[in-house]
Symmetry: C2
Subunit: 137 residues, 2 copies
């Protein structure tokens, strides 16, 4: 699957390939979500500044999207055609972030109708609470 191979993604987007980028993108594609410091924890030999710079580069290319700012840091996710825009649930107990089933943000549904006359380019929906697993244990 082309979109899930770091080297292909870079080539398709005309982004120069480096060892650091291939490694980082590999993690990003696998992860449900990630932050700069989480990535760097798994790739200690890659400089944090490099991680930040690469995340921004991918964000500008639409390869990565911002999810939310939680617990003092920014979280992102890899964008995939099989993973359209959707909300997230953040468990305040175990600090895990779950994807919610996609809402149809782009049709004239209740969400967008709500925005009145503004032109909406991005929708971010975060729910916080206690996840199922934490409630049951």
């Amino acid at each position: 699957m082309i979109r899930c191979n770091p080297e292909n993604v870079l080539a398709m987007s005309g982004i120069r390939k480096t060892r650091q980028r291939v490694d980082l993108l590999g993690l990003m594609i696998e992860a449900v979500s990630f932050s700069a410091s989480q990535l760097q924890k798994d790739l200690p030999d890659v400089d944090l500044a490099t991680v930040y710079r690469f995340i921004h580069l991918l964000k500008n290319h639409g390869i990565v999207r911002e999810i939310a700012y939680l617990d003092g840091q920014q979280f992102f996710e890899y964008v995939c055609e099989h993973h359209p825009p959707h909300g997230h649930f953040y468990c305040e107990n175990c600090a895990r972030l779950f994807c919610l089933p996609p809402l149809d943000f782009n049709q004239s549904n209740v969400l967008i109708r709500n925005a009145g006359n503004h032109r909406v380019e991005q929708v971010s929906l975060i729910m916080k609470g206690v996840c199922k697993a934490c409630r049951e244990s």
Copy 2:
């Protein structure tokens, strides 16, 4: 109106009244939204640490609620019974934050149904784009 008078709000919540708190709460009640540094810009004689401490205190009392983290800082709004939970629209051009009409977050609507088996305690909905005024100028 009791809920709109800083001194009443503090008294009703059993929060000790100080000059700084009355001044800050006055601004918070008037503002559509606010950040710590915005408040301090209008009340330069109040220490920034005091602003942060007071915001957290009010948040714990449910008097203030977190809206979003935008442009590197946290934004909040004063909670009022005439102002139930609602989404916000952030204009990326003029950096203004608009309130959207309230969504019925608490009924079993599309949003909450989406959360599956998690217990939702807080919903945050942010749309980003270009506001009407900016589009027309």
